[in-house]
């Protein structure tokens, strides 16, 4: 399968600050999650993908085109930017219609496409109101509508789920799945791994401007399983619980914080840990009050991978 994106030795600097450094990646058609902690270089990569900037070094091809100011590429591309910026004096419908007209559509066709797109993001009742009165979630969905209204081959969305309430988030994720099923390729950046994981098995991990890992989410998670997972527990009888936990083969260490009574566990198999814990807690009558897995965030994953 021919890659839709091909970056070779891609670099981008902002003065002395490195945005991206020697990034080599090929992305195939379909839905791909671009993940990384804040400041990893995701937005820089996105800006290069949509031709907002030129690379400082290396080369980049999107759908076979060099992106910067490439009109041929923009006919096949939809971009949902991260920034919460819209023309506030316009209604949602006017805004998306305006964006469609810039793609050289006549007013009637542009309006019809805009209406359909806004209906798909469930804004049909609000689309004739000025966007200045929209909630953040509605604004986010309006940005999304302008990105896919013209049925592009590739949609690039930078943190598209930010600001959405759970219901809207669910609807938008469903929309992405529909778009993906209809053959549209999507590149979605997010710093929240589980959101991306619910959408696609394929991710590209960027950290400090470099490619850290690429491939199915499960494979990347495997990398994490080589490191002990940290769990914080609070229990009425932490010593008894700690003793029992240390007997389990997958528990690497148990540390009791005398001052607070908190128990810090390291385990090599988080699933087995969660499976064994209820029985153990019952047997030792330790009375677990709270349980928190502190290194489930993507930042923690990166900390492990970066070393």
């Amino acid at each position: 399968m021919k890659p839709i994106i091909k970056a070779t030795g891609l670099g981008r600097w902002y003065g002395e600050v490195i945005g991206l450094n020697d990034l080599n990646v090929e992305i195939l058609p379909g839905i791909t999650g671009l993940v990384g902690p804040n400041g990893a270089g995701k937005s820089t990569f996105m800006k290069l993908l949509v031709g907002e900037m030129r690379p400082s070094s290396g080369s980049l091809e999107v759908l076979g085109h060099t992106p910067f100011a490439n009109q041929e590429l923009y006919r096949q591309l939809g971009f949902c930017p991260q920034q919460d910026a819209l023309y506030d004096h316009m209604t949602g419908l006017q805004f998306v219609t305006h964006c469609m007209r810039l793609a050289n559509l006549n007013h009637t066709d542009a309006k019809a496409m805009a209406t359909r797109a806004l209906q798909r993001v469930h804004l049909e009742n609000a689309m004739n109101r000025p966007v200045s009165g929209y909630s953040k979630g509605m604004r986010q969905r309006t940005k999304l509508a302008q990105a896919f209204a013209h049925t592009p081959k590739l949609i690039i969305a930078d943190e598209p789920l930010t600001g959405l309430d759970p219901v809207a988030r669910h609807q938008v994720l469903d929309l992405y799945r529909e778009l993906g099923d209809s053959g549209t390729s999507l590149i979605i950046s997010s710093h929240v791994l589980h959101e991306v994981q619910s959408l696609t098995p394929r991710i590209v991990l960027i950290h400090r401007g470099r490619l850290l890992a690429q491939g199915p989410v499960e494979d990347v998670r495997q990398l994490l399983s080589r490191h002990p997972r940290k769990v914080h527990l609070r229990a009425r009888e932490p010593r008894a619980l700690a003793r029992a936990l240390l007997e389990l083969p997958h528990v690497h260490s148990a540390t009791l914080e005398e001052a607070t009574g908190d128990l810090h566990i390291e385990t090599r198999d988080i699933r087995a840990f969660h499976s064994d814990l209820p029985a153990l807690a019952s047997r030792t009558r330790s009375g677990i009050e709270s349980l928190e897995s502190s290194d489930a965030s993507l930042d923690a994953v990166f900390d492990y991978l970066v070393g």
Partner: protein, 278 residues
């Protein structure tokens, strides 16, 4: 065809943004200032004595550049500051059409405002004298009639010369500000520095360096169509020693400079990278 359509869409967008903006309110206030001054002065002196001074030293040197720079600086920088430029630059549009469309609207707005300001100066300078006729009945109608008569009595070319020079000033300064916005983020500040520091210096020292300023050509234009303005300028020692152009020569040179700067700006916007913070 798509280029023209994009330019038209951009022009409409800019016009709508400007009409709803605080910039326009500021510009209206700026445009009103010389009119108010002319109104007060008109009560004490004859329009022929007031209009050349206010026109040349307030409208052309201060108000027209300020209005044009304020409006012109919004051409690129407003989209950048609002971070909406992304929606335009990731569409199959020519960036030059974006610039030209928005510039066209800005030029129209600044030209209208500056024209109102200069025409208003003439009106305000003449109206109090017309009002002195003190017709109790039909005062407005007769007052207006008197005013027209006074305008007719103004030295030949003063009214038309001032208005035409104002239009030229608005067109030039709007492009300067818009063009600087293509290359620099702080277009408004840079435009002000250029107009009131660099050009203000170049235009007001003796010698041929005056030819590097827009003001030199505006003076040439105005003095060619209005002799009294020429006599006013001849009384300022710093401005003597430089031969002014005729109106056609001044217009031709300004048109050439405009074309070159427009071309540079249009090419610049095609190649410049505009980075927005997230």
């Amino acid at each position: 065809m798509h280029f023209l359509k994009t330019a038209w869409l951009m022009s409409r967008l800019q016009m709508r943004s400007l009409v709803l903006s605080r910039r326009l309110l500021i510009c209206v206030l700026l445009a009103s200032a010389p009119i108010a001054i002319a109104w007060f002065a008109g009560g004490h002196q004859h329009a022929t004595d007031i209009v050349p001074f206010i026109g040349m030293f307030l409208v052309l040197q201060v108000v027209a550049p300020l209005i044009s720079l304020t409006v012109g600086s919004s051409v690129v920088t407003e989209e950048l500051e609002n971070r909406t430029i992304t929606y335009i630059f990731t569409r199959p549009t020519d960036r030059a059409a974006f610039f030209l469309g928005r510039l066209a609207s800005s030029t129209v707005v600044s030209t209208i405002l500056v024209t109102i300001s200069s025409a208003g100066v003439i009106w305000a300078a003449t109206y109090p004298q017309a009002g002195q006729a003190n017709f109790k009945r039909e005062r407005i109608r007769r007052g207006a009639h008197e005013m027209v008569e006074i305008v007719r009595d103004l030295p030949e070319g003063l009214a038309t010369g001032l208005i035409a020079a104002s239009v030229v000033a608005a067109i030039m300064y709007t492009l300067i500000s818009a063009g600087l916005g293509v290359f620099f983020r702080r277009a408004m500040i840079l435009s002000l520095v250029y107009t009131f520091a660099i050009e203000g210096f170049l235009a007001n020292i003796p010698g041929s360096t005056q030819k590097l300023s827009v003001q030199f050509y505006l003076r040439s234009f105005l003095t060619d169509v209005h002799e009294m303005s020429a006599s006013i300028l001849s009384e300022i020692p710093m401005l003597t020693g430089t031969t002014l152009y005729t109106a056609p020569e001044a217009l031709t040179r300004l048109a050439a400079a405009y074309s070159v700067f427009l071309l540079i700006s249009a090419l610049g916007i095609r190649t410049r990278q505009y980075m927005m913070t997230s």
